[in-house]
Point group: C2
Chain length 247, copies 2
Amino acid sequence: MTIQLHTDERVDYVAGGKLKVIQSPHVFSFSIDAVLLARFVHVPIQKGAMLDLCSGNGIIPLILSERSKASIIGVEIQERLYDMAERNALLNKKTEQISFVHSDLNALPNSIKGITYDVVTCNPPYFETVTEKEKNQNLHLAIARHEMYCTLEDVIRVSSQLVKDKGKVALVHRPERLASMMTLMRHYKIEPKRVQFIHPKQGKDANIVLLEGIKASKPGLICLPPLMVYNNEGVYTEEFRKVYEGR
Amino acid sequence: MTIQLHTDERVDYVAGGKLKVIQSPHVFSFSIDAVLLARFVHVPIQKGAMLDLCSGNGIIPLILSERSKASIIGVEIQERLYDMAERNALLNKKTEQISFVHSDLNALPNSIKGITYDVVTCNPPYFETVTEKEKNQNLHLAIARHEMYCTLEDVIRVSSQLVKDKGKVALVHRPERLASMMTLMRHYKIEPKRVQFIHPKQGKDANIVLLEGIKASKPGLICLPPLMVYNNEGVYTEEFRKVYEGR
C-alpha cells in the first residue's frame, strides 16, 4: 500500500526518529506544544481508552501510542487535517490502535459520546478572536489557531462529559489563559492537579503551560519543575531534548 | 525611648541589614514566603495607601516601606503579634508611615473599611484544618498557620472589598491551593495577572506560589521566571539572595 502525499506535504521524524509525521506548512504543522502535552499527560500503560480533541494531523495520538497500549481516538473538524491524520496512522502502522473521527467536537457522533475515556487530551486553538484578514489568508491555519469552531469552554465542557470519574483531562495553552482554564475546569468538575510551565529560556516568562486535571477529584495542585527550551547559546537544553524526544 | 523585648524575643536583621525585626519562635517568626511577597507585589512609589492582612509581626509592611512612600496599614488578629508589629514599626522609626490595627479581618473597624487601597497583600494561614493537639501545643502558631479565624475565601473577599478598581491584590500560598486562589479571585472580581513559583531547588516541585491580581481587570496572566531557593550545594542561589535582600 502506498500512502499519497499532497504536493505541499512533507514527512518529518519525531520521538527520536521513531514516528513519521506528514505535515504541511500550508494547512497544519505540529508545534512543540503538542509534543510536550503528549509527553506530560499521565496515561494508562496496558489498556484503556484515550481521546484527543482538536487532533490536527494526529501528532498527539501518535506519541501517546508510543507510551500506552490503550485505544486512542482523535477528533478533528477539518477534513483536510482529518485525512492527514488518517494517513499518519497508516504510515506508522498504528491503525489497530488509533482511529480518527471527522467531527465538530460540539456535535460528536454517538460512537464517540457513548463511551467514557481514561484520558482526554487537547491542544486547542489559542486565540479568542480572528480577523477577516487571517481567515482570508489561510482558513486552515485560522481554524486551527483561533476559537472559530470551539472555545476553551467547549473543550473543557466536552472533556468533562467524556472523561471517566478519576480520569484525566490534559490541556496545553498559553499561560495568559491559565486562570480561565482553572476556573472552567472547576466549573465542569475537573480538578486541576498538575501544572508545568515551559519557558523559552532561563529568565524569560513562560510561554506554554501544561495542565492536567482529574474528574471528580479533591483539590491539590502540584507545580512541576519548569522546563527551559533553549539555553543561552540558543540551542535546545538537554532537559528539553530528553522530554521532546521521549528519552 | 526604649523598646521592651519579651524574654522569648530576639531581633533579626532583614533586607540586607536595613530592617530590624523583633520575632519569637514561640509566637511568630516570619518566613521567606512573606519576604518574597513583599518583594513581588507591584507598589506605588510616591504615594497611595496599602493594606496588609494577617500581618503577624509586621514583616510585610516593613519591607513595603522600603519600596514605597505610600501609607501602610497592617491588620493582625492576635494581640501578642499586633503588639510585636507595633514595636517593630517603632524600632525601625516607621510609625509615620506604618500603623497596625488589632482586628479580625472579618470584623474590620470603619476606619479601615472606610477607604479603598491601591494594594492589598496577605500571607494567610496555609492549612485548612487544625488538630486539637496543634491548638494545645501552641495556640499562637496554630492561629497563624491554620484557617481558624479566616479562610482563603475570607481573605480574598475582604481584599476585593477594600482594593480600588485597578488596584492590586497579592497573595503568597502553597501551590496546592492555586486553583482555589484563582477561582476565588475571579469570583470576587480580582483578575489573576502575575504568578511566580518558588522551587526549593532545580528539579523540585514548587513549594511557594506568589499571585497578584488586579481588581476589575481583563484576563491575561503572566508567569514570571521561576525562582530557585537553594543550589545543589544547599546554599541560597544568587538570584534568590538578590530578591530576598532587595538588591
